[in-house]
């Protein structure tokens, strides 16, 4: 359905490219979805797109920090996000997205699920803006 939404979006807008800032495919692989759960360690609420960092614990007690890219602030606020309110450092979150082609702990985020069950889109569908 994610792909379907993106395609319908393109159809409705005409098929003119609707890249937010750059081609998704440039850096991310839409064939490699990833979901992690961890604690938000840092949020760079800046243009041209936000980054947030999530500390993920493994079975042996080790911690890996994931770096997620998301929409620019102007898109997030139009979908109901509030800076320093919706997602805060210390929050436990589940993040779905697609892996970067190079950095093994970087991904393009699509949605974030919070501890209270809220699930919000945080970034574009895979493939957006590639053509």
């Amino acid at each position: 359905m994610r792909t379907l939404s993106a395609l319908l979006c393109a159809l409705l807008a005409g098929t003119v490219s609707v890249a937010a800032h750059h081609s998704f495919a440039a850096e991310y692989d839409g064939e490699k979805p990833v979901t992690v759960t961890g604690v938000v360690a840092r949020i760079d609420w800046m243009n041209p797109h936000i980054y947030f960092y999530v500390d993920v614990k493994d079975d042996k007690g080790g911690v890996t920090q994931w770096k997620f890219e998301g929409y620019p602030p102007n898109m997030l606020v139009r979908q109901g996000w509030q800076r320093n309110v919706t997602m805060k450092v210390g929050d436990t979150v589940k993040v779905f997205g697609w892996r970067a082609r190079v950095n093994p702990t970087q991904a393009a985020s699509r949605d974030v699920t919070f501890a209270d069950g809220r699930k919000l889109n945080s970034g574009p569908p895979a493939g957006t803006g590639g053509q």
């Binding site: 159809l11 807008a13 003119v16 609707v18 243009n47």
Partner: protein, 271 residues
């Protein structure tokens, strides 16, 4: 875009269009609610003033926006836009486009926060505001904080143009359609998607037609004898966003992509 899925979707859209008529004939529902009239200025021209969005509706407002758009179009009886055509490039230009596609759009000037040109800036997924005055139309774009002044008083293009990202615009009215002639471009922009290059000889003719209170049909015809074999048209629906405002968007603020994309070019695509 996956051709198979696109075909299926087109079939679905066409099928949905096809069943509209029989259903209408059978059930004879009440006529659609009266549409708000298209606002007009004192001189009788359609007033295009307002905040509009030309693309990326789900990116900007969430997935539910697509349903809202479908319902609004159905209620207004709007026809689908003409199908898009691939760019009619000369062989050399097409070969260059294919190279950019193979590099997955990494070379996109937009990724460096450079100003998008015309018509691409129209469909960037951030709003723009049209301010219509008797002697000119002004467009303020949230993306890049860009602006265009479009005189409609009959003046020609200036004779001291320097090649620029948005070119130089002059407008005129063709009935109820605002027609904008844009020339004087540099070559640092892509027209409509990855690798859609052009030369300084590019001429873009935009047509803005407010077909309903809530929508403008946007048509851009691109002519460039250096790279195109014939004029290339692109279409979009611009949608009014009452209550929306133009916000600040400083693209370069934290653009890590410049460095990371250069790294990709230096490694994965190093010759």
């Amino acid at each position: 875009m996956d051709t198979r899925i696109t075909s299926s979707l087109l079939t679905l859209v066409l099928a949905m269009s096809a069943i509209d008529l029989p259903l209408y004939a059978q059930t004879k529902p009440a006529p659609p609610a009266a549409q708000k009239p298209i606002p007009r200025t004192a001189d009788g021209k359609p007033d295009l003033s307002g905040v509009w969005v030309g693309g990326g509706f789900a990116l900007l407002f969430g997935d539910a926006e697509l349903d809202a758009i479908r319902k609004a179009d159905a209620a207004a009886g709007r026809k689908p836009l003409p199908p898009q055509e691939p760019p009619p490039y000369k062989p050399d230009a097409e070969a260059r486009r294919q190279q950019y596609l193979a590099r997955r759009g990494i070379d996109d000037p937009m990724a460096q926060c450079l100003l998008s040109g015309v018509p691409r800036i129209t469909v960037r997924p951030l709003p723009f505001e049209i301010i219509q005055q008797p002697h000119r139309v002004v467009i303020l774009y949230e993306v890049h904080h860009a602006f265009r002044f479009i005189p409609t008083d009959g003046r020609p293009h200036p004779d001291d143009m320097e090649p620029s990202y948005l070119g130089d615009s002059i407008g005129r009215w063709d009935g109820d359609t605002l027609v904008v002639d844009v020339v004087g471009f540099n070559t640092n922009t892509w027209l409509a998607g990855v690798g859609t290059i052009h030369s300084e000889k590019l001429r873009v003719t935009e047509r803005y037609t407010r077909d309903t209170f809530d929508t403008i049909v946007y048509e851009a015809t691109m002519e460039d004898p250096e790279v195109l074999t014939k004029p290339w048209k692109q279409y979009a629906t611009l949608r009014l966003r009452p209550g929306e405002r133009i916000r600040e968007y400083e693209c370069i603020e934290n653009n890590e992509d410049i460095q990371r994309f250069q790294k990709l070019l230096d490694t994965e695509f190093k010759k």
